[in-house]
Each structure stands twice: as C-alpha cells, then as structure tokens.
Amino acid sequence: MKSSLENKAIDTFSYLFMIIFSIFCILPFILIISSSVSDEKSVQLTGFALIPKQFSLLAYEVIFQDNTIFTAYRTTIIFTVVGTILCLIITSAMAYAISVKTFTHRNKIAFFVYFTMLFSGGLIPSYLLISKYLGLSDNILVYIVPALVNPFNMFLLRNFFKQIPDSLAESAKIDGANDIYILFKIILPLAKPALATIGLFYGLGFWNEWFTATLYINDKDLYSLQYLIMKVLREVEFMYQLDYMQGVIVDYVKPNNTVKMATAVVTVGPIIFVYPFLQKYFIKGLVVGAVKG
C-alpha cells in the first residue's frame, strides 16, 4: 500500500514538475509573439499580454517596409553558412590529425590547444590585434576568422574519432590512400552524428552572434540579426533613424514596443524551425563524444 502511494506521489511530482518547467521555458516566447501581433495603443494602455487584446499586424508591415531586416538576414546567413563549413573543415582536420596514434607530436599539439582553454590574453589584446593590426573592422570576415576553431568542439570531435577502429584507416593506407583522403572518405562519413552536433554548436554560435558586432562593426549593412535586436531594444534614436519608422504614425502613436517584439520574433523564427530536426542528432553526438572521453 505504502509503496503504491509513493509511486503515485513520484509520478505526480514528475509530470507536474515537467509541465510547470516546460511552461516556464516557453512562456517568454508566447509573450513576445503575442505582443508582436498586438495593437500598440492597447500595449501602452494595459501592457504586454500573453493573449493579444487587440490584434494588429502593423508592426510586421512596418519592419518589412525597408530592407534593414533583410540586409541583416543576408549578412547573418552568409557568415553562418560559410563560417560553419570552414569551422567544420578546419576543426575536423585538426581533430583527426591528433587522433592518429602514430602522429608523433599529437600530445604536444593537444596541449598547445588545451592551454588556450586555461589562459588567455584577455579581451583587449585580441581587440587590438583584430581591429588595429589585422584591420578586420567592418569586414564580414571578422565574424568568421577569429572563431574558426573552438577547443571544446575540437576535443569533442577528437574523442569521437578515437573510437573509430584504427584498422579502417590502416587498411586504406596499405591501399595507398593518404590521410586527407582517409579523413574525407572514410572517417567523416562515419562521424556524422558528431559532425551534426558540433555543426549545430558552431551554426548557432554564428547565428546568435552580436558581441563581435558591438566591437568591430559600424557599417549598417554588416549588422548581424542579433545585433539589430540589441540596437532596436536599447536605442530609441536608432529606431527612428530606420526608414521604416519615419512617417509611421498611427493615431499619434509610434508602434515602438510592438516593432521591438516583431523584430525579435522574425530573428528567432529559423531556430525554432530547424531545432526539431537537429535535436535527435545532437543529443546522440554530445553523449557519445563526452561520456567516453
């Protein structure tokens, strides 16, 4: 009797806890979506609400009137796609080389990388290097080049490669294949879950990038999407500079708040759509790469 009561208690708690925590996690999304399709006047009177009090698509009409959002989208897509591909190539090349047991200096190189996780020169020397000495300010490359290899991802991938039996590479070597051929034709096809995982990490890192822009980007055409959100949220003057806010006065109310929310919704969209497809890969890849380190 006691044990069945305990069973019920644990079940109830488990389900209830997950329901509450899930609601807690998605509530903010519902709030901004609802706010973005609300009428500005009703927002100013009664505040943001989880269900729009007065439905209006004006905010979306406004932000799609000029190309600020589209330009930011284009910039972000370019550096996300190019960056992720480059990162994957360079990271997997490095990870594969130091996973080969006959490679003489692999442990030294691993430590060379590992040390950068322990100590860094800090923000300012990198800033000086990138802006003053490499001259990458206001260049789309600044989003990509300083972020090419993430040590954590590199080790995750190396650990995954280590589990692939050596015999595969060895027999290919006997047949005369070189290491580059082995990596791309034999190893990488076997490492798809791990590649999907770190590809997702790199891709999301690029997609969510805004801090680089605060440091190095002044050119409005090179704003990333997330930096645009930052600007729209923080700087009222910035909003009025945008073409789309000029001349938009509806009943003497500028749609400030709803436009902020609509901008946020438009930038988060792709993540929500891609997420379910990638989820099954990354849980698998992360677990395999991490647990058996």
Binding site: I32, G121, I124, R234, Q279, A290
Partner: protein, 326 residues
C-alpha cells in the same frame, strides 16, 4: 566531459621506438601536418599572439606610438585598479554570481534528469525535454527582449499581473531597472531558464548508463522507488557531478560577458550587483578608451583564473584521482 589530454602508455612506446630526425618525421606524417596546420596557425595568431599582447598592461599604451614604442610604466596600471574600490566589487560580483549559477544550475539539471527518467510516457518525455532544452539555443540579446517584455515598469507583464491580482496599486509598480537588489535573483532565474534543460542532457546520459541489474536487485530486496533514486541513481551520478563542478569552479573567475552585457547593458543603476570583471573591462575600453588599464585588469583575471584551475585540479587529485581534469 573529459576533454583533457590522455597520455596513453601505448603512445609513449610508439614514440620511443621511432625516435627519428625531424625531416623523416615530417616526410612520414606530411599529410597529418598539413591537416593540423590551419588549426595551429589559428591558435597561434588568435590565441597566442594576444598572450604576448598583455605586455600592453605594463605600458602607457598610445595608439599612435603603437605596441612597440609605447612607454613602459611598470605596475602603475595594476596599482590604480587595486586602489580603487571597484576591484573588490567586480571581483566579488563575478565569483558570487558564478557560484550561484553553478549550484542552482547543477540542482535543476539533476532534478530535470531524474524526473525525466522517472516518466514512463515516451511521448510526454520527448516533448517536454525538447521544450526545456530549447532556451539554450536562444541568444542573450533575445533574452534581454524577453526581460524587457516581462520587467518593464509601465508595460511589463509582471507588473500588470501583480496589479491584476491586487498585490500592488496603480503607481506602485516595481521599477526593476533601477533596483540592483533584485538582479542577482533575476540573473539566476534567467540562467536556469536558459541552461538547466540543456545541462540535464549529460546527467540523463549518465543515468541511462547505470547498470539496470542494480535496480532489479534492489527491487527484489524490497527497495521502493524513492529509495532507488536516493540510494542508487544519485550516488551513481557522483563522478559526473564532481567533474562538471570542477569545470565550473575552474571558470569561476570568468564573468559571463555575453549574458550580463546583453541584459544589463550600460545601466549604472545596476552595477552594484551585476558588474563583473568582464563587463568592467569592456566598459573601460569603450567609455574611457583606456587600453592599458583594461588589459591589466584582464591579465589579473586570467592569472587568478589559471591559479584557480590548478588548485582545483590539485584538490581533485587528492580527493579522487579519477576526478582530476588533467
């Protein structure tokens, strides 16, 4: 999450057997060197060159004179920072916030993992797991938009809900953005919102790896479900918990610049509780344009961080040699 270096015995045997000249080594492993080269160059330029750049911390850096010709001033930049009262505030905030993040995150990640593993309905499990992991993939800038929608004084959801339920009257709205005392809790809640679900993935994997026979044996001996959780699952998670905690402690001196700057921004009202070393350095750079001073503070952070990593690793080795990071 053991990303550390593993020194295989087999490796060193291989290395001893093949002591040979550099040239024949490069010839033998030519393609491997070629593969590793871009990565090595990347780390040399973007990670190791800035380490040399910390020399600026001992200079009175002048953009015109540049890196090589600026005047050396010894420890003056450090002296200035350590005699101001800011250094105690930002150091305290960094460590205090990180400790709170670490332990609340640990608690919720483990709780979610255990609760999920107790749920038998597969569909429910999958959907809720997806929902709680989702926030991890959202940028902090977007979170700051959420925060605005929730906490804004005149139109934020929390104030309107409080008003609707009669907790506060019109005109008594809580002005979150000017009240530093509330922000430690706010930041902790945001961190849990964003990270706990994702953090649970690793514990779920660890739970899935526990030998099912232990549970079956316990059940035959009459153990209840709660006893299985407290006496089997939790102890089995110990190694993972210790390892991840060590990683967390190693990072305790690194403030979450991306998070705190995105959410708090340049709001001086909140510096008292939210200003961490990283945001302080960043502000020094932008507002004072004091390159040398901000480099000095960054160096102080990196060095103390390094010491902390070595100390935690040493303690971990003493406690249990399997738990050491390297």
């Amino acid at each position: 999450m053991n990303v550390a270096l593993s020194n295989n015995k087999a490796d060193s045997v291989v290395m001893k057997k093949r002591k040979k000249s550099i040239i024949s080594d490069v010839k033998q492993n030519f393609y491997l060197y070629l593969l590793v080269l871009p990565g090595v160059l990347y780390f040399l330029i973007f990670k190791y060159l800035p380490m040399v750049g910390v020399v600026v911390a001992f200079q009175d850096f002048n953009a015109v004179k540049g890196f090589f010709k600026s005047e050396f001033v010894g420890l003056k930049n450090f002296e200035y920072f350590f005699t101001s009262k800011d250094w105690l505030i930002v150091t305290w905030n960094t460590v205090f916030l990180n400790i709170l993040f670490l332990f609340t995150g640990l608690f919720f990640a483990i709780l979610i993992a255990i609760v999920l593993s107790e749920i038998s309905n597969k569909y429910f499990k999958k959907v809720t797991q997806s929902l709680v992991i989702l926030p991890n993939f959202i940028s902090w800038t977007l979170v700051s938009m959420f925060v605005f929608a929730l906490l804004s004084t005149d139109i934020g959801l929390i104030n309107s809900v409080l008003k609707a339920f009669g907790f506060i009257q019109e005109g008594q709205e809580i002005s979150f953005y000017s009240n530093p005392d509330l922000w430690v809790a706010i930041l902790v809640v945001l961190k849990i919102w964003k990270g706990a679900g994702f953090g649970s993935v690793i514990y779920l994997a660890a739970i899935a790896g526990i030998d099912q026979e232990i549970y079956e044996a316990a059940k035959i001996d009459g153990a209840t479900r709660l006893q299985c959780i407290t006496k089997i699952t939790l102890p089995q998670l110990k190694t993972t918990v210790v390892l991840l905690t060590l990683f967390g402690i190693g990072d305790i001196f690194q403030g979450d610049l991306g998070m705190i700057y995105a959410i708090v921004g340049d709001n001086p009202n909140l510096y008292q509780t939210t200003d961490v070393i990283d945001t302080y350095v960043f502000r020094m750079l932008r507002q004072m344009n004091d390159i040398s001073m901000s480099t000095a503070i960054g160096l102080y952070q990196s060095l103390v961080g390094l010491v902390i990593v070595f100390v935690t690793n040493h303690l971990a080795k003493k406690y249990d040699s399997d738990s050491a990071i390297f």
